[in-house]
C-alpha cells in the first residue's frame, strides 16, 4: 500500500500535460518525479518515526535487531541455508520434468487415453488441494514409519519428494496453459506434414509453449524456494530450523530477521528477472503484431 503512493502521483502528470504541455512539456515529467520522491520520503519518514518513537520500540529493537546475536547467529543460519538451496535446486529440476510430463499427458487427445488424462487430472487436483505442510509431514513421517526394506528414511529425501509432488501439480497447470495458448493450426500444420502426435508436440507446440510460460514458471519457483522452509517440521536443519534453534538458545528473535533477509535477497532478483522477461515477451508480441 505504501508503494502505491508514489505510483499514483506518477500518474498525475498526463492530466496536467493537457493543461500546460504547450508551454512546458518536459518539466511535467520532472514534476512527476519530484512529487514521487517527496511523497515517498514523507510517507516513509512518518512511518519510521511512528515506529521508532513508539513506547515498545526499545524492547523490539533489542529482541529483533540485536547486533550481538546477529554476529553470533549469522554463520550458522546462512550455513543452514545451503540445505534450502540444495533442496530447491533439485526440486526445481524434478518439477520441470514431472510437471511437463503431467501437462503432456493431460493434453493427449483420443478416447482410449481417457484413463491417463483422468489420473493426471486427479493428481493435479489432489496436490493443489493439500496444504504443503500436510504433504511434507505425511510423507516425511509416514513413509519412513512404514519401515519398508530399501525405501530411504532420510528426511531430506522425503522433503524433496513432497516439494516435487506439490509443485509439479502447479507447474503442470502453467505448462498446460502454455500448450493451450498455441493455436491448433500449428499442430495441424505439423500433422499435415506427417509428424506424429508426439512429434508435433515435441518439435512444434512445446518449444513455443515453454517460451511463453517462462515468467509464470519462475513465479512458481519463487513459491517453491520459500516453501523449502516447510521441511523444518521434519527436523531437517535448514535455514528456518537453524534460526529456531538459535532463537531458543539466545531468547532473541534476531535469527528470524536474518532468515527473512536471506529469503528477500534470494527472491527480489528473481522477481525482477520475471518482470524483465514479461516485458521482453510483450515487446516481442507487439513486434510480431506489427
Amino acid at each position: 500500500m505504501i508503494g502505491s503512493g508514489p505510483a499514483d502521483s506518477g500518474s498525475i502528470p498526463p492530466v496536467a500535460i493537457g493543461r500546460r504541455s504547450r508551454i512546458l512539456p518536459a518539466p511535467e515529467d520532472r514534476r512527476g518525479i519530484v512529487i514521487a520522491i517527496v511523497s515517498t520520503v514523507v510517507v516513509f519518514s512518518v512511518l519510521g518515526y511512528a515506529i521508532v518513537s513508539s513506547a515498545g520500540w526499545p524492547r523490539v529493537q533489542q529482541s529483533f535487531f540485536d547486533p550481538e546475536t546477529f554476529d553470533e547467529s549469522l554463520p550458522r543460519v546462512t550455513a543452514a541455508f545451503w540445505v534450502n538451496v540444495q533442496l530447491f535446486l533439485l526440486a526445481e529440476v524434478l518439477v520441470l520434468v514431472l510437471g511437463l510430463v503431467l501437462a503432456v499427458l493431460r493434453s493427449l487427445p483420443g478416447a482410449a487415453l481417457a484413463p491417463i488424462r483422468l489420473l493426471a487430472t486427479a493428481y493435479v487436483d489432489l496436490f493443489r488441494a493439500l496444504p504443503g505442510i500436510l504433504v511434507v509431514s505425511m510423507l516425511g513421517f509416514g513413509i519412513p514409519a512404514l519401515d519398508i526394506e530399501g525405501v530411504p528414511n532420510d528426511e531430506f529425501f522425503w522433503a524433496l519428494v513432497a516439494l516435487t509432488l506439490l509443485y509439479s501439480a502447479y507447474v503442470s497447470e502453467v505448462y498446460r496453459a502454455g500448450i493451450d495458448s498455441i493455436h491448433p493450426s500449428q499442430a495441424a500444420a505439423a500433422r499435415s506434414l506427417g509428424l506424429s502426435q508426439l512429434q508435433a508436440m515435441r518439435f512444434v507446440v512445446l518449444p513455443q509453449a515453454v517460451r511463453r510460460v517462462v515468467p509464470p514458471l519462475l513465479n512458481d519457483f519463487i513459491g517453491l524456494q520459500k516453501d523449502t522452509a516447510l521441511v523444518s517440521v521434519l527436523g531437517v536443519v535448514e535455514v528456518f530450523r537453524a534460526a529456531q534453534i538459535r532463537q531458543a538458545a539466545t531468547f532473541n528473535n534476531t535469527p528470524y530477521v536474518i532468515t527473512a533477509v536471506i529469503f528477500i535477497l534470494l527472491t527480489i532478483p528473481m522477481a525482477r528477472l520475471v518482470d524483465w522477461l514479461v516485458r521482453r515477451e510483450q515487446r516481442r508480441a507487439s513486434a510480431v503484431a506489427r
Binding site: 500444420a189 505439423a190 500433422r191 499435415s192 506434414l193 506427417g194 513455443q208
Partner: protein
Amino acid sequence: MTMALGRALRIEGLHKSFGRLEVLRGIDLDVAEHEVVCLIGASGSGKSTLLRCINLLEPIDAGRIEVAGRDITARGVAVDRVRRGIGIVFQSFNLFPHLRVLDNITLAPRKVLGTPRAEAEDAGRSLLRRFGLEEKSLDYPDRLSGGQQQRVAIVRALAMQPDLLLLDEITSALDPELVAEVLDVVRELASGGMTMIIATHEMGFARDVADRVCFLDGGRILEQGPPAPLLTEPSEARTRQFLQRVIAAGRL
C-alpha cells in the same frame, strides 16, 4: 487396377458434419495424375473441409477416399504415413514461428523420413533457390512478407515430395500486391506436372491454371468441367449467380 494407375485421387459419397451442420453432402470426385482441379464456391460451401478431409485432418462420416488406388479412410490406416504423400498449404500459412525458414522446411524430412540434416538442408536450399527465397533461409518467419511466408509454406509442403498437393485459399490472407508472386509459384508447379486440388476465390487464376473447375454449393459439387466454358457459360443457375457476384466484386 489398370484404371487406377493414372488416377491420383478418388472420392466417393463423402459426407461430413460438424455437429448438426452438414458441410459435405455426398462428394464424388476423381482426380487424374498431373491434373489441376480448382474448387470454387461461396464461403461455407465446403471447399476447405473437403481439402482437410482428404488430408485426414478431419474424420469423415461416410464415403471413402482413395489415394493412388489405396483406401485411406479404411480402419487401421497409418494416418501419418498417408499424410506424408499429401501436402497441404493453408490460408494462414501456419509456418512455425520459433524455427528459421530452413528449419521450417527441413523439420518434417528430418523427423518423419529420417533424412540426415545436411542432406535435408541441401534439398531445402535448392527448393528455396527455385522459388527465389534463398536469402531468407536463415530468417524467422515474422521477418518475411505475407507472400514470402506463403511461398515458404509451399516449399515446406514440397520438401516432403508429395504426390498430391492441396492448396486451401492460399492467397485469401494476402495483400493484393502479394497475390501474384504466390500464384506464380503455383503456375510453375502446375507446368511441372504437380497434381493439385486448389480451393480459390481467384477466378482468373483458376481459368489459367486449372484443367478442371468444380463449383461447390451447399456441400455438393453442383457443376464441373473445363474452366473456359464453366466460368463463362455455366449451365447451373447457382453457378451463374455466384460468378456474377464474383464479377461484381471485381475478381474475375
